[in-house]
Subunit: 445 residues, 2 copies
């Protein structure tokens, strides 16, 4: 069903057909279909849906639609949603809603749950604790496979995953895990303790979500247990949430690396003012910084006015320096994000960039020298000045580009800010100083 | 166990202990631990491992270690590995190995499997067909839940996933799917047809892996069926492989956007010559392109030499233009990659960028005007020239940055090439032409 068909059915008041067709669809598609409708229509259709589906669709609505629905439905309906939502979706919801709605939601939650919500809201943003959920299957190690499967049959439908079950002792200390695959392929009377894996790969509540994602990628797990400092199981994280986080973290890095404030809002949905506000601060900082480069040119005005042709090579030198630096910084920033590179590798990075930049710099300089000599009518000495500057600039840029992200990481800043735009600004100044210094000594100005 | 301890144990010839400790570890960690060892030692320890673990570790080795091992082991051992490897890992292996090793591998495969391998090798690189595997659980719709579970118990250990089972008819047409969760929580005598989902979300063998990843992210599935044009089930893709692909696709985009040839090799592992070769072509292209910007300066030599101070604003104008353009192009490239933006949205993008750039351009120009007037001793008219250029450059840059990725996509090029570096080069020329034209008319040169 597409939007046009839905609107036709609504107009024709064919509600039974709408209900039937929507019930067959995946909840994500239903949410996508209803999201653009106005609040009144959305509510109308939302109330037609089977209750289970309705809650799932609700979890996939945009914040705006969620707000509209909670504002319009009865307390009893809110209670049902609060009761049925997965805990991590509930936390997400509460974090997005305005204070009065949060009150309404908390009022509908049971005492026990309210306590838990308050505890979860305290985990730092982007930590494992802030993205975990509490709907997991916990098993005792003395159970038989048959007992475990009966237990899962009873409670499994309300758990976010049943595919990995966690084995704990009375103090909730994590002792092992067993997959549903192992359970269904084992003999019924085997004991959990004998078939469980006791080397558990786990994360801590305060771990950063990016490093959690890297653990998922490394091992290919479907879920990971989250423990506190006493190794007590406090929640789990499932792979579907991690995929969202991977996409979101990569998008954030792209934004920061292009000198923007990161934003989770989709481009087409975001307002013009919001987008402008995300872009202005860095443009302003970089614009002001670039004026220093201009000052350098001002200082060497004598050089520029005595040999005007020198200025025509400036764009090429600045761009080549900026691009060389961006290449290096991008690789290092990405390596830090995926966990391949750590700050301990600074010496390896430095040595590698030094050799690469020497090769790249010399090749570019030679080609540049030949091009100038053959195609432009300038003195040999000018060609030499330009080409020497290329070599030195490329080497300096690649070292700056390779090392600055590592320094940022060490200072607990986001390495992504040390990307193209900032590197370019720094390298521009470097390139000009090198250029004019060589020009002065080689051309005797 | 870490590398030092392993080497100590090897030196002490404590092989039983090595075997015991490694057997407890996750296969990914064992592979990581053995990977840096020399071929001889790796083989020694590899042969100690329990056979099942050995195959899993093998699948996680680097290409180099895999090559070393296949070269050194007996035909019978190769046969065992070939037999036990998951089909998608086997295809990956064959794609990486030199021809003589591929021969050795194919010789060890059974006739049936060899045919299948040849068929799979024909799928385009980065297509769903090239990443799918054939180890899935297929059920007939007439089975009862009990029969299905018995079937899974028999064959489940050799399947990549048992958590989603696919229901097909005699012609292998995909009719539905049922999750293991549904199976274990349903009554034993229910019929599969009655509990299966018949609205199946699926991908086609020729779909691009990036769009497959977007389907996974959207729905949060653990596996997706892959069908051919006749809707016959030909394989499945599991979420663990998709996470690798997501990371790899994002890394590739980062590399292309920073003007490098994309490479799957890790930075620290890659050779200096390889890295230099990845970086040189684009630097060269951009360096040559930037000389056109220089030509423009040459053309306006009269303007520059009559008012030398004008040249000191050039770095700031070029950088601001480049950064403005990069911001827009990055958002559009990322939106295209995640599927949020399509080429049909060009009008929305254009209209949005036009409004954003007007706001951003005017703010930057005003601040710039005040800064020049207050801090630098230049004529009002020069300040006006510079500030007007800022407005026009920012607007032009953002429109170029917003639209070029869409044009690239339309032309079936990778939109990522239309990122910062290329946009900067284009925008530099634009900025200078605007600057000198305004200067000429405003300053009457």
């Amino acid at each position: 069903m597409d939007e046009r068909k839905l609107l036709e059915l609504i107009e024709g008041k064919k509600y039974a057909q709408i209900k039937n067709e929507l019930s067959e669809m995946n909840e994500v598609d239903v949410a996508e279909l209803l999201d653009p409708l106005d609040a009144h229509l959305t509510l109308l259709i939302f109330r037609m849906l089977p209750k289970d589906l309705a809650v799932e669709v609700f979890a996939h609505f945009s914040t705006e639609q969620q707000l509209g629905i909670i504002n319009s439905i009865t307390d009893k309906e809110v209670e049902y949603i609060v009761d049925e939502l997965f805990f991590d979706d509930m936390i997400d919801l509460i974090e997005e809603m305005p204070a009065n709605i949060v009150k309404k939601i908390l009022k509908s939650a049971k005492e026990e749950e309210r306590k838990l919500i308050n505890q979860f809201l305290k985990y730092p943003v982007d930590s494992a604790g802030s993205i975990m959920t509490i709907e997991y299957v916990e098993l005792r190690k003395g159970l038989t496979v048959k007992e475990a499967l009966t237990h899962i049959k009873e409670i499994g439908l309300n758990k976010e995953t049943v595919y990995t079950c966690y084995v704990t002792d009375q103090k909730r200390t994590l002792e092992g895990f067993v997959s549903l695959r192992t359970l269904v392929t084992s003999d019924e009377d085997k004991i959990i303790e004998d078939i469980m894996e006791d080397e558990v790969i786990k994360v801590y509540t305060h771990d950063d979500q990016e490093s959690v994602a890297n653990v998922f990628i490394k091992y290919g797990f479907l879920a990971l247990p989250v423990v506190d400092n006493e190794n007590r199981l406090t929640g789990i994280i499932t792979v579907d949430d991690i995929m969202d986080i991977m996409e979101q973290e990569a998008t954030e890095d792209f934004q920061i690396m292009a000198a923007m404030s990161p934003s989770e809002e989709a481009y087409l949905d975001a307002g013009v003012m919001t987008l402008a506000k995300n872009r202005l601060p860095w443009l302003l900082i970089l614009m002001i910084s670039a004026t220093f480069t201009g000052r350098i040119m001002g200082k060497f005005e004598d050089v520029l006015s005595s040999i005007v042709v020198l200025s025509t090579f400036i764009p090429m030198l600045m761009d080549t320096g900026g691009n060389s630096g961006s290449q290096s910084s991008t690789l290092i920033i990405r390596g830090l994000a995926t966990g391949e590179i750590t700050t301990h590798d600074w010496w390896k990075v430095l040595w590698k960039e030094l050799r690469i930049s020497a090769i790249v710099g010399v090749v570019l300089a030679v080609i540049n020298f030949l091009r100038i000599i053959l195609l432009e009518k300038v003195e040999m000495k000018v060609a030499l000045t330009v080409s020497l500057t290329v070599v030195i600039t490329v080497i300096a840029s690649k070292i700056v580009g390779g090392i600055l992200p590592l320094i940022a990481k060490k200072l607990k800043l986001d390495p992504a800010i040390m990307a193209g735009p900032l590197i370019t600004t720094i390298v521009d100044a470097l390139a000009l100083i090198v250029y004019f210094s060589i020009a002065k000594s080689l051309l005797g100005i």
